[in-house]
């Protein structure tokens, strides 16, 4: 269980945006190409298969949190240890 939890699954915000853009681009592209090809050979099943291939490709490229989606992690500020300790000290003085 610890091993499963240690697998990273998150993307950063920029990565999520890019993953969604990329998946939509792939699926739309395969859909359009499939429609044209299916119309040319007059087989709608080929259109569906090509769209299915686009779905699989989009899943491979955008479902796993590949490193390309983790390049802009949130920059958290450091915890202000020193200030809070001074506060408590000053608080004590005021009391």
């Amino acid at each position: 269980m610890d091993f499963l939890n240690s697998i990273p699954t998150h993307m950063d915000y920029d990565g999520q945006k890019r993953a969604e853009n990329l998946s939509r681009l792939i699926i739309t592209l395969f859909g359009v190409v499939g429609l044209v090809w299916g119309y040319i050979i007059q087989q709608f099943s080929q259109t569906v298969y090509i769209l299915g291939a686009g779905f699989v490709l989009a899943c491979l490229l955008t479902v796993p949190p590949w490193p390309m989606y983790r390049r802009k992690p949130l920059q958290w500020q450091k915890q202000k240890e020193s200030e809070s300790t001074t506060h408590s000290k000053s608080k004590k003085k005021n009391d």
């Binding site: 699954t9 998150h10 993307m11 915000y13 920029d14 990565g15 999520q16 945006k17 890019r18 993953a19 969604e20 853009n21 998946s23 939509r24 699926i27 739309t28 859909g31 499939g34 429609l35 299916g38 119309y39 007059q42 087989q43 709608f44 259109t47 569906v48 769209l51 686009g54 779905f55 989009a58 899943c59 955008t62 479902v63 796993p64 949190p65 949130l74 920059q75 958290w76 500020q77 915890q79 202000k80 240890e81 200030e83 809070s84 001074t86 506060h87 408590s88 000053s90 608080k91 005021n94």
Partner: protein, 227 residues
């Protein structure tokens, strides 16, 4: 007073600081402290892609939407196709009998027997939005009982990829040609028509009438012997 540790969230527009001088003011009681937490991120474009499952869900949902759109395009592309075509029919042997209809009232009704020829080429009717054709041969006639009688005598399913060039000679009907009285004997004008249903992947289910029909007449005497 409790210890406060404040974080700022750069990307999300943290709006202000709590001044450390003010925190140390003596009259600043616990109740008056206002904590500024970072504003939660706006649910922008990528907001529903944050875990593996939501990404998979978003992609699947989008794929299905695209599939629906493609199917609709397929339907639109065949909306104005003309599915009519010529068919040639002829009757070979026509006999009428007067026999009890045990399937209904046991009264003696007219029962027609006929064999027919049929030639037509339906190959060009198949496109990417036609899965199969359902052909049926109908006899239409008028009697004193009814203004319009329609009896289906024969039918056939042609799936896409099967041979659609039909050339039948002297074929028996599949279904009985019952009249509901004695309207067939000596009838001068019975019309055979071929029609078909177009069964599509998506869209309408039109009933098409073939161009060309055949009229024939029944003999004016009942046949005695078995055919």
């Amino acid at each position: 007073m409790r210890e406060l540790s404040l974080y700022s969230w750069q990307q999300c527009g943290y709006v202000g600081h709590v001044n450390s001088n003010r925190l140390s003011e003596p009259n600043l009681s616990k109740k008056r402290i206002v904590l500024y937490f970072p504003k939660p991120p706006e649910p922008e474009f990528g907001a529903k892609m944050h875990t593996v499952l939501t990404r998979g869900n978003a992609i699947l949902a989008y794929t299905l939407s695209v599939l629906a759109g493609l199917t609709f395009c397929c339907f639109l592309s065949t909306l104005f196709v003309d599915y009519r075509t010529e068919a040639h029919m002829n009757t070979v042997k026509v006999v009428v009998k007067n026999v009890p209809d045990y399937s209904a009232s046991r009264e003696e009704n007219d029962l027609g027997f006929l064999t027919f020829d049929l030639q037509t080429d339906l190959t060009h009717l198949f496109n990417w939005n036609v899965k199969q054709l359902f052909l049926y041969l109908t006899a239409e006639y008028k009697t004193s009982n009814n203004v319009l009688n329609q009896v289906v005598l024969w039918d056939k399913i042609i799936q896409r990829g099967e041979n659609a060039i039909l050339d039948f000679k002297n074929v028996n009907t599949k279904y009985y040609f019952w009249d509901d009285g004695e309207g067939l004997k000596g009838h001068k004008n019975v019309t055979l028509t071929l029609s078909w249903n177009v069964i599509p992947n998506a869209g309408l289910l039109p009933n098409i009438f073939a161009i060309g029909q055949h009229s024939f007449q029944f003999p004016s005497e009942y046949a005695k012997n078995r055919m």
